[in-house]
Structure formats: structure tokens, C-alpha cells
Symmetry: C2
Subunit: 455 residues, 2 copies
Amino acid sequence: MSQAHEYVKAHFDQFKSQLFDLLRIPSISTSVDHAGDVQRAAQWLADDLERIGLHPVEIIPTAGHPIVYGEWMGAGLDAKTILIYGHYDVQPALKSDGWINEPFEPEERDGHIYARGSSDDKGQIFTHMKAVESIRANGAKAPVNLKFLIEGEEEIGSTHLADFVAANRDKLQADVCVISDSGMPNSEQPSILYALRGLITMDVEVFGSATDLHSGTYGGSVHNPVQALAEIIAQLHKPDGSVAVPGFYDDVLPLSDEERTELQKTGMSESLWRQTTGAPKQWGEPGFAIHERTGARPTLEINGMAGGYFEPGFKTVLPAKAWAKISCRLVANQDPEVISRLVQNYIMNISPATIRTTVEISEGTRAAFVDIRTPEMQAAIQAFEKGWGKKPVFMREGGSIPVVSDFQSELNAPVILMGFGLNDDGAHGPNEHFMVEMFRKGINTAIYFYEAIGA
Amino acid sequence: MSQAHEYVKAHFDQFKSQLFDLLRIPSISTSVDHAGDVQRAAQWLADDLERIGLHPVEIIPTAGHPIVYGEWMGAGLDAKTILIYGHYDVQPALKSDGWINEPFEPEERDGHIYARGSSDDKGQIFTHMKAVESIRANGAKAPVNLKFLIEGEEEIGSTHLADFVAANRDKLQADVCVISDSGMPNSEQPSILYALRGLITMDVEVFGSATDLHSGTYGGSVHNPVQALAEIIAQLHKPDGSVAVPGFYDDVLPLSDEERTELQKTGMSESLWRQTTGAPKQWGEPGFAIHERTGARPTLEINGMAGGYFEPGFKTVLPAKAWAKISCRLVANQDPEVISRLVQNYIMNISPATIRTTVEISEGTRAAFVDIRTPEMQAAIQAFEKGWGKKPVFMREGGSIPVVSDFQSELNAPVILMGFGLNDDGAHGPNEHFMVEMFRKGINTAIYFYEAIGA
């Protein structure tokens, strides 16, 4: 066992305790009330990056939440440079959503760390930080130069990151970019992502009467906006489960038989799907398997909807307004701008004259593809093999990481999606968790990866 | 001008100030957090009833919120007895719903008192209390015996009132029951209600996955419950605006040409409807005018719906659950139990196997009809004529007052629906208001009514 791996073994409990401290900061980027916490998490990371020997470490303000940047260039000009990306912001979470522990009071139970952000993405970026700490223990040199880029806006669409990357090409220049913000289907079989879906989001609002009305006095003469919005939403999918927006699938490239066969290896069985989701019966686009529907096909999802009185009790109100939050996952060759307009136009077209509808589009993200034949990918394969004792398989993921295509286009560097989470970690849901064994293997695998790139 | 009417004139400012005190109590019956306020409002009313000379006055506990009861039997056994009904509980209200003033900090602006409950129903029951105070000023006797029955659960379906009425037939026995909990189309033309719609309410819940999931990882394979609920709601009406539940209209009696002609007199014009509602275009059951849709035909309304993340910002969640609150307004000859089952069965039938649906029915209220040929109604017509200087017209109302049919069946007494509100008072919505002139004319009209009944 190398000195670095010995260090991991000796300090692992301390690493966990440090991660707990980071997880206690409710850095929810979508909530203005938590702006101070987001800032606090940035400071915490900057302090730890300095402690493990990066220099300089900066907290760089953006028009939104700050970016934490730190580097160690001590391997020299001839050595390779790795840019490591992660995010310190998290999704909202309330105990009342169904959490066992308070989401920002981490607990270890049955080999898992339970807390919002434990897997997505604090635990994963921290894995790299502890790999760097271990490899540089006692003043040792790392075989590669290291750059950390940790943003605070991933959960709200990485609003200011693309501009930052474009404006700082020289600063961020690297031979390979590593992104650890994804999951594997299971902890025994390592896997590497090579495709991510893109994302577009939009806010739909439907207005009826000018104010809430008494449903007894006016009900039956006003088109209820909750009902009207439901009628619109019901027309977004065909009865067979496919998306009904005209042109939605037009630019999707068909899956080759070869790719379908490879994907089949990490495909989710109906019984595992049922066990993980708890849903009564699978649903979705006809002609595609579960893992194809979630990973290789575009989807349209209602992330939330509300209107009228929906608290306990009853209020016989005819609401003035209803609203929904809609997102689409996109696959390669689909243009976020084009699809956003298609959905917007379709919604406006099917909205009746009895209500007033608005559709506000947010900036979208393209789907990403990674070339799996590069030398950097070979280094990653080797690192996973050493970390797990098993060759990794390749897979597609349904989620979106906006920065992938920015790195590819702006930095012209290969991207490795080195996820240490698991698909059932419950990212974005209640009881999000990070497997302790994934944390440990992740640190060791990251060390192997730095060594393989530097070799 | 009689002594009672002189008293009204001299004390009207004081009456208003007392009403403001009552309106400051947020007696929201649907919220457990406000149970103390509901109790406080009951005590406030009991105190004022005692002050104006009723005896005994009781605050009678129920399994829910208490009933306030008080009587004055000083007119003697040979005199007639009037039972006056109202309610002191109110609908929920938050300034953020669009109120100009705090809903429980009453304000007078442009001849209207703005506060939750000002019209529905504190202002209206208080109108009778001030009429009694005025008629009995300086120890004068009233020409009739008086009983006040003021409940605290009208806004949650008068849950415990029917049992109370049935168990207290002797106590409540009266020659005529007066209910002041409704509105007129305009303040210049007095009108008397003779028909009210019934009401059924139900809670629909749709469940998908066991917990909230990441929409990128599972979206496209799980039937999103918000989408599924929208699909269910969209099937509750036909595209033409009629209710799609099979059998919904089966027991509805057709409107006679005669009745349609009479109703036409208080019918709402398209331009007034547009002005009052602010909605872009009228909607509803084909073949019926606006006032028929809202007053004489049954309807099905979505009072609220929610699911997923609907706060500001975005959360790419695949929600585990969505829920809606649905109510139907019923007309004469429709059985609440039968219609509830029809709607429940229909929803369960159209719910797909990819989700789990529950429909919880609450107790319903029958529609009510009042015979307009009774002597008591003649007394009411006379009172309105004196109060307004104009003969009242007869009309139907879309709202529901559960107690009407209970009074009719249990007390076997004629019911007079003597509403002093206006249809555009904004009951149940933001900026609810009560016209000061309606309050003044209402007190005078109530005095004329007591005198006419006692004559």
C-alpha cells in the first residue's frame, strides 16, 4: 500500500467528520433565504483547500453565488494538469418531506451518511479533496498539477459558470477535466458515464379571474385556472406515454443495436425498478426499456404544480391562478433553445381563450457525450480497476451536468465523468445518502487516477 | 322615524366600531392554529348578546367549534318567535393573497369595510344584533320573541349543526327562521333568495413512487403523479364545459320557461360578469346563461391542487404525490351521497394502474328551496320595501348554506334568506368587504321585518 493509501486508512474517520461539518451548512442555492449559508459553504471549502496545500485559493464572486477556485501547480510545467469540478450547493430539503433525520444534521446509519448534499455533490467533491490531502501528506509532491473549480449554482442551472469558463480559459487550462457528480447502478460494479442528458426548464402560469372568487357565486361561469392548467398538462403526453409536443423527437438520433446491447449491461430490471421507486407499475415511452427511457430518450416532466387552497381543511374558492414547473431532459443533437420554443408554442397553442397563459423559459443545457477512446479514459479505467478490483462498464445517465459541454468546447479538454454516488442515493429526494464504502473507494480511486495521469 | 330607527342613526358609528372589534378576531374554523381565536369570537358575541339584553346567553360546546345561543322571550307566549341564524367563523386569509390591508385589521375605504368576515358572515349577523339593540333601546319591548343561533363551523360544512338542531327542536322552535348569509346582485335593487345550491367536497390523492425521486434518474419511467392527477382532472369536464361524470345531471329538474324569465331579471350581463370577475372570456355549460350556470345548474370545481416543488426557484424532482380538493354545487333533487359516489367511482375508474388514487368524501349538503308564498315572506317583502323604498325581486344563489334544509325539516318553520351582502363583496377571496350602506339599510330592514312579523 502506498503512503497516500496508508494516509487514507489512518485518517478516514477524520475525513468523515469533516464531511459532516460541510453537510451541516444548508447551502440551498435556489432559496434567497439561504444565500448566507451558500456563502458560508464556499468559505468552508476555501479554508479546507488552503489547509491541504492549494495556493492560491479564491472565492470568486459572480452575479449569483460564488465560485471556489484553488490550484497546486507544484508538479511543474512539464507535468499534466487535472481540473476537478464539483458543486457545493444543494437542493432544498425539509424534514417534513419524509426525512428520518434533519436533512442538515448528518447521521451515519447502516454504512451510509444521510444528509442533503451527501451524495449530490458535497460528498463527491470532498472525495477528491481528501485524495489530494492524502497524496500530498507529509509534504509529498503530487504527480500532476491540480485545479479545483467548485461552483454554487449547479442546482439552479449553473447560471454563471459558462461565462466564467469562457472568460477564464487560460486559468482553467488542463489536460483533463474530472467531474464527480453522478452515480453508479450498484456499489460492486464500477461504471463510467459517457453520456448525460441536457435540461430545459420553464414556468407556466394560468390566470382566470382577477382575484380568488367564491366558488358558489361564480363557479360554472369562469374557467377555473387549476382545471385549465390540468387540461393543458394532460395534453403534454399522448395516452401511450410519449411526449405530445409536435417535433419533440425530430432531432433525436436513433439508438444503434450495438449501443442498446452495451446499455443492456447496466440496465435496470423491472423488479429492481419497482423496488427502488416503489411505484405500482412502470410507465413511459413505448418501445424502450426502463434504462433507455431514463437515460437515452428525451422526457418531459412536471416538477411541481399548485393553485387554489391545498392546505389541510377546505376552502370553496375559485382560484385566480395556477402554476406549474416543467422540465425536459434532452439527448444529443437536441437543441435546448429549439425544444424550449416547441414546448412553449405548443402550450400557448392549446391554451383556450377563456384563460390567460404565460410560459417563461429558463436557459437550457445541451446533452453531453464523452469520447471513450482517449488515453485519459484509459487512465480512469485503470484507476477504477485498482480501486474496485474490477473493470468498469460504460453507461448513459438521465441527469444533466451543464458544465460538461462547456469544458468540452471552451477548454478543449477531454472530460471524465467519475461518479462516486449510487443511483439510489436519493439525490433531490428525502433521505439522500452517500455510502461510506463509496467515499473510501472513491478517495483511493481518485489517487490511482492522479497517479495514472501523471505516469 | 320610529325610536328604533332614531337609535340606529345616533349610534351607527359606534356599531361600526364594534363590528371592527369583531372583525379583528381571526376566527378561521378550518385551521387548528386558530381554534383559540374561534373560541374568542364566540365569547365576544356572547358578551354583546348579553349586553343588548338577551338572556340566557350560552356558549355551547360541540365536538368542533362552539355554538353561541341567546334568546329574548319577553314578547310573551302569544307573540311570534324569530330564530336568527348566522356564523362567526371565517375563511382563511393572508395579506399575501392580494389584500390591500391586513385581512384581520379592518379598514373603511370608499364606503366599504374591508376585512375577512366583513360580509361573510360577521357583518350580516351583527346587522341583526344591532337591529335588536336598537329596537330594545331604553328598555323598549320588541314585538316578537328573538332567538340567535350563531355557529362557528359554517365554512367547514356546519359539521355539528344538523345534530344540534335535531337534538334541540324545542329550544329552537320558532315561527320563522331568518338566515342572513348571502348577497344581492346590487345595492340599489333589493332581492330575496329562494334557492341555494347544495355542496359536496372531496380530497383526491395520487401516489406514484414511494418517495420523491431525481427527475433525471427516474423521469420517463414513473408515471408522475402531478401529471396523472392533471390527466384525471382534465377528464372531469367535457370539452364543452359540462361535467363529464356519468349520471351527474340525471336527477336535475329542468328549469321552466317561467322560472328562466323571472331569473333573467337578476341575471348578470356578460359585461358585468367580465367587470366583476376580470376573467378573459365566459366559460361553462352550453345552453345556459351566466346566472343559470352559477345559480340553477350543478357544477364541479377544483378548489385547489398541489404536488412537487412549486415555490420560487426550481427543483428537478419527480414528486411522489399530488393532491386536489374538489367540490360540487348541487341543485334541488340531487342527492349529495349519490353524486359523491358517482364522482368518486368515476375518478377511480379513470385512474390508471401506473398510480394509486384515493378519493375521500366529506359529508354533503342538499340544495335548498324556499316557498315564496308564505305570510312570513310577505313580511320580508314589506320590510325590504320600507328599507330600500323599492320592491324586492326573487333570485337563486349559487352558494350553499347547509342549515337551510335542517331548519326546514327539523323545525318545520319557513326560512327567509335575508342577505345583506353584495355578490361582489369578495367573500372567500382577498379584499372581502361589506358596504357601509348595506350595513345601515340592513339594520333598518331587520327592524321593519321584526315589526311586520310581530304585527
